[in-house]
Point group: C2
Chain length 747, copies 2
């Protein structure tokens, strides 16, 4: 396996088990399973009931079980009495438990050598090998493999092989276990488990949102007679057999999952019988072929720095996994379907972080993300009504229907920039894919309805010339209620201007469009007295100094974990980029001097408590030529999921940061402007010192291209059938269809 | 019964049942029972379980059962999983259900004539009479009486008499019912019910806070044999008998309540056997005697306006009822022990609204309220620690231990003025009662510890000369997070100055005291550019116009019930007096011109959504000579509990407003300055047009006096053994011991 294509766990350390579970999540978009151990760990019950209260997520403590199962199907949400809609953690079906001479495999209690678990990202396969020295003083080589089929998204395929060093008595259990909770809550109002034929088990659950989910698993192995062990919410098959020395014994487990929300309902048993003639290798081959073609469309090559290469592929792997192809009823939740932590909900991350990667590598995937907001417009309308407004107001934390699920009023009520972010995302989709007509078609109603909301949400204060957006929370969530947050004002202004432009198609009257245009021009970006410093909001300069030196004792943990929320809310401490985030979106509206001024002013105040922080900062740092800073943020961002010693992906993949890893490389180090920022593909590569090559494919307004940069220059290949204009190092050129061209860094 | 001593319900209307339950609450301080009907209503189950979430109380909707039982013992709190500590609604023991010829008395379903229920406030007795025309076409006159003994605070005495118009078969049930909830939650982890001797029932509950509560009830009546009907959480005695025509039959029910928190534990059975030799009349007579002496010490006579007289006595009645004599482990909760609504917790109402009434009518009662904060200092210390501060920080919503119980962060985190209010209250106690040494004795530690908190809570912003209190919520809770709220700054400054003065006794070092003094001088009251308008906070002028005309459609309901919290929080709408509240506390620090300016500026923005609003406004209106406004606020305040058509006391008595009713009369219309505002008893009566006389007793620094005013002048009687200085209409005089003097209104 070439460098950078795999993530390896070796040896096993129980304190990192949760982190690897998240990091090793496999999935097909439709179905996702965390990387939990087939044989599980002892003392890690998965049915702990507890009350998770609405609270500040940054500083929340989770129950510290050693392991956390996670089985998710996109779109299967349940109703939590305190927390509103949340994605349900479904029954666990990965269980395969071998016993040798009566001893159960358990990584904490057994003697295990040569432990190695490898996520092979090229084929989205998880492989674990180990040598088990049993209590009966024998050895057996164990190998577990699993993948979730990219061809048959409902199908998970597993294999266990045992190669005994001595003859031994083996006993194996396979099962489905519905004794699970989601954030401590039981969403199953009815569970049925049972045997479904000789070697198959079935589990059906009815959720509290009236969905039904069926899981059928089939275990096949030579020389074995399964006995069914019914036990309430679990279904188990168990068999005993004697294994001769040296002969490898193989067990296969195939599981199909079906729900009442599936777009094309299939028959569970048919799912498995259809693939019965196919061997493990055949199923894996068709799966691997899909993954290889996915990689071809998006792989970013980083040479000279294996850690960066691996981190980049890890990010891309989860972005490819987490997107649900063809289903616009869901977007990508904050943890990319790999943990319960953010309740499986959809945030502004969708538009501002996730969308660009898909836009420039796989536009059809990007389209489902755009359409998710179009199809959830009715939820946004109802949400506006609840707040006393006409039009549409997108929820801060959305479920599939666009319902506001956030139980914390400060975000739900005040973090209204999401409504403009949605419109920015739709516009970005239209411009990047060349689907200009989209804004005058399906998206027009969203643009007009949200503009109607903005018209009612603005205030004109006595004595002011312009309009104000009061009591808003910007991207920096540590100033909870502020006036005229520059980010929010600019995005709302953008959305209003677009509504004035395309509003006719969305049903806006001429007078409405005039009103949109006028309001758009009256929402300002705030500047300090010096005219250079862009202010985050009216109040910012009058907040208290944060006194980090005194109060932030342990810099490895968020500032928010070490002071009260009350202090956060009165201090000049930023959770993440706010003005700088704005500057990444509208770079031409700010001079380098202004960006530098903002950087110098806000950075010392920024805690980076949010995983959304490194990405934006790295991009701005590259613009300013502060390559040391850019590298620092790149390193912070690439580590978020991989650094298991600091928790990593224990509660789920930081999927927006994964997309930001791509952005840092492409929009940062390669200096690519988005289609919102330039009509022409524009590049200005400036690589980190450690890198010798940065290369990636891109789709620009429908035209496929390949960018290949090093410290000396950049080559762009036009892989499309038409000429492609590119602006490199500030000069514009045209590359003929199928051609490629190289430019050296100007002296 | 002379005018103004009783509140009458006639006829019965089910839609007002809850309001009369609250209004007719009886109590001994220790034990309180809402005025629920002995025979109860059908379809009004009391064991509805529901989840009451942390939410904005002003706009919260309660389950609309027809009736709401309430049995409270001061200090018995339980643990709610979401809402923290709350006062427990204990088992209901008032039940007496008569049946005639098989028909159960039910006010909604039976034919009832001449219904009249009267709260006789002079003797704290509830009497209900009615004529019941039964389904068997007979008539029976029914009378129910009840009182909670002021002599034996654990004892509730009830009597029912039946006078049949014809011979009839009667069947009677008496019982104790533990099928109750508190805000939808069951706090009983164990309930035992049973018969305790021939005519007695017992009920013991263990609460989730590990208190035990015992209730024993004894029912006696001639010619009756009780049968016990055990039924889980209820205990019932039932008997049948034949009543001859015209002969009155009497049933008595006596109930004793005991808890593990009682200061002097008594034996439940002894409680009842001790009083067995005493007749109903004897028990009532000793009870009534105590109430008459209480009234003598505080009754406010208003002549010329019976509605005002009745409202005044209703307020005083509940103030006398709700205070727990001699027990400083509790204060008076926000609903005066007459409803579940504010969870039985203690707010700033204690110091700023309730305390003055007790200070000037019954100083020993006032002492327990002051001492409540002294004894809960450890809770306030722990609360400071939780927020990352030294010293003591009093909770916004306190239980008996000073724990913060408020589950809504905006109040708990930011409404910090309570910590200064507590110190103001202690100082007020010391000055009003002449117990100056109190501040250098028991209260000194509170003063110093809270000052230590303030020293750490202030910020010095770059460029500012003074100190700031940032991110605070003032009394106006509709500006959730503001900077330098004038009320909070002034109160904190007051508290710091006091700590500098008396700090030595509280263990403050000389350098600490210097720091207290310096900080005190650096917290300013904000003024607008004109120098006259006192600003509520730095942000106020930049908030949005509230647009009441457009948005506040139904003025009979709170503004907050008609707009979203988000709009409240960004608009210039006040929930209640804020700057004006400050001006009632420190009247000499503001010129009439400044007060007028504040009045004119803030009043149009004030919603009076809080029941704390009318009192402060009426007092300021009298100062400004705006007697029409003063009258309007008086009428609004006096109606709050009595106006059953608008809900009245359905969820409990507005006890702070009850105290404000006294304040409006004494501090408003009689123009009495508090001891915080004047060393000499100072009066400047200005009566509403409708009143012909306003007279009340007062205790000034230990000296009893009597004030008797009309439109022409005022007479002050010195009932103490020393000469008493008084300032009347701006001139100071001395009244000899036992003497009295009259002054006419100056021309």
């Amino acid at each position: 396996m070439s460098d950078g294509w795999s993530v390896v766990e070796s040896p096993f350390r129980v304190e990192h088990a949760r982190a690897y579970e998240g990091l090793f999540t496999l999935g097909s978009g439709y179905l996702h399973v965390r990387g939990s151990l087939e044989e599980h760990l002892s003392d890690a019950p998965q049915d702990l009931s507890y009350t998770r209260l609405p609270a500040n997520v940054t500083s929340e403590k989770f129950p510290a079980t050693k392991a956390k199962w996670g089985t998710y199907v996109a779109g299967i949400f349940g109703r939590h009495p305190l927390l509103n809609s949340e994605m349900i953690n479904l029954p666990w079906f990965l269980g395969i438990v071998p016993r040798v001479d009566g001893q159960r495999l358990d990584l904490e209690q057994c003697t295990v050598e040569d432990y190695r678990r490898e996520l092979r990202m090229d084929t989205a396969t998880l492989v674990r090998t180990l040598r088990w020295r049993t209590a009966s003083n024998k050895t057996v080589d164990v190998c577990f493999e699993r993948f979730v089929s990219a061809v048959r998204p409902y199908l998970c395929v597993q294999r266990m092989t045992l190669t005994p060093g001595e003859a031994m008595q083996v006993d194996v259990e396979v099962g489905i276990d519905a004794n699970v909770r989601t954030n401590g809550y039981d969403h199953f109002i009815h569970v049925e488990t049972g045997r479904a034929g000789g070697s198959a088990l079935a589990c059906f659950v009815h959720t509290d949102a009236h969905d039904q989910v069926g899981i059928v698993t089939q275990a096949t192995a030579p020389r074995i007679v399964w006995k069914h062990k019914p036990d309430g919410r679990t279904a188990t098959l168990r068999a005993e057999l004697d294994l001769p020395q040296g002969k490898t014994w193989t067990l296969e487990k195939r599981t199909a999952v079906q729900t009442t929300r599936d777009l094309d309902p299939w028959d569970l048993v048919t799912c498995l019988t259809q693939v019965q003639p196919m061997s493990f290798e055949e199923l894996h081959a068709e799966h691997a072929a899909v993954w290889r073609s996915r990689w071809a469309a998006c792989d970013v090559i980083i040479e000279g720095d294996p850690d960066s290469q691996r981190a980049m592929r890890t990010a891309l792997f989860h972005l490819l996994r987490a997107h649900v192809p063809g289903d616009s009823r869901v977007a990508i939740d904050a943890k990319g379907y790999s943990g319960d932590a953010y309740w499986g909900r959809f945030f502004w991350d969708t538009e501002m972080y996730l969308l660009p990667f898909y836009l420039y590598t796989d536009p059809p995937r990007a389209r489902t993300l755009a359409e998710f907001r179009v199809q959830s417009l009715d939820g946004a309308r109802a949400n506006a009504r609840r707040y006393g407004y006409d039009g549409a107001r997108y929820p801060w934390e959305s479920d599939s229907q666009g319902n506001e699920c956030c139980p914390n009023w400060q975000y739900a009520d005040h973090e209204i920039h999401v409504t403009a972010d949605v419109v920015y995302g739709l516009s970005h989709f239209a411009r990047a894919t060349g689907a200009d007509e989209y804004l005058r078609g399906p998206a027009a109603e969203v643009v007009v309805e949200t503009a109607r909301y903005w018209l009612q949400r603005v205030d004109r204060r006595p004595g002011d010339e312009g309009l104000s957006l009061l009591a808003v929370m910007g991207p920096d969530e540590y100033v909870p209620i502020s006036s005229n947050n520059s980010y929010t004002n600019r995005l709302a202004s953008f959305a209003l201007a677009l509504a004035a432009e395309v509003g006719e198609a969305g049903g806006a009257s001429p007078s409405e469009r005039t009103a949109f245009a006028e309001a758009s021009q009256q929402l300002d970006i705030l500047r300090a007295a010096d005219g250079e410093l862009v202010l985050q909001c009216e109040e910012f300069e009058r907040l208290a100094e944060p006194r980090f030196d005194e109060l932030w004792k342990d810099r490895s943990k968020p500032f928010a974990s070490q002071v009260s929320q009350e202090r956060l809310y009165r201090s000049k401490c930023l959770k993440q980029a706010d003005v700088l985030m704005l500057m990444t979106l509208f770079p031409d509206e700010f001079t380098d001097q202004q960006v530098r001024r903002a950087w110098d002013y806000y950075l010392p105040y920024t805690t980076h408590d949010s995983s959304l922080s490194p990405g934006a900062h790295a991009i701005v740092a590259v613009r300013l030529g502060r390559m040391g800073d850019a590298w620092r943020f790149w390193v912070a961002g690439r580590a978020l999921d991989l650094d298991v010693t600091h928790g990593g992906a224990a509660e789920g993949i930081h999927i927006a940061n994964a997309a930001a890893v791509w952005q840092m490389a492409v929009q940062g180090f390669a200096g690519m402007r988005t289609a919102m920022q330039s009509d022409v593909l524009t590049l200005r590569p400036r690589l980190p010192e450690a890198w010798t090559r940065l290369a990636f494919p891109i789709v620009w307004k429908g035209c496929p291209a390949y960018v290949d940069a090093n410290h000396k220059g950049v080559t762009v290949a036009n892989r499309g059938p038409e000429p492609l204009a590119v602006t490199v190092y500030g000069r514009t050129h045209e590359i003929p269809a199928g051609g490629q061209q190289r430019w050296e860094v100007p002296a």
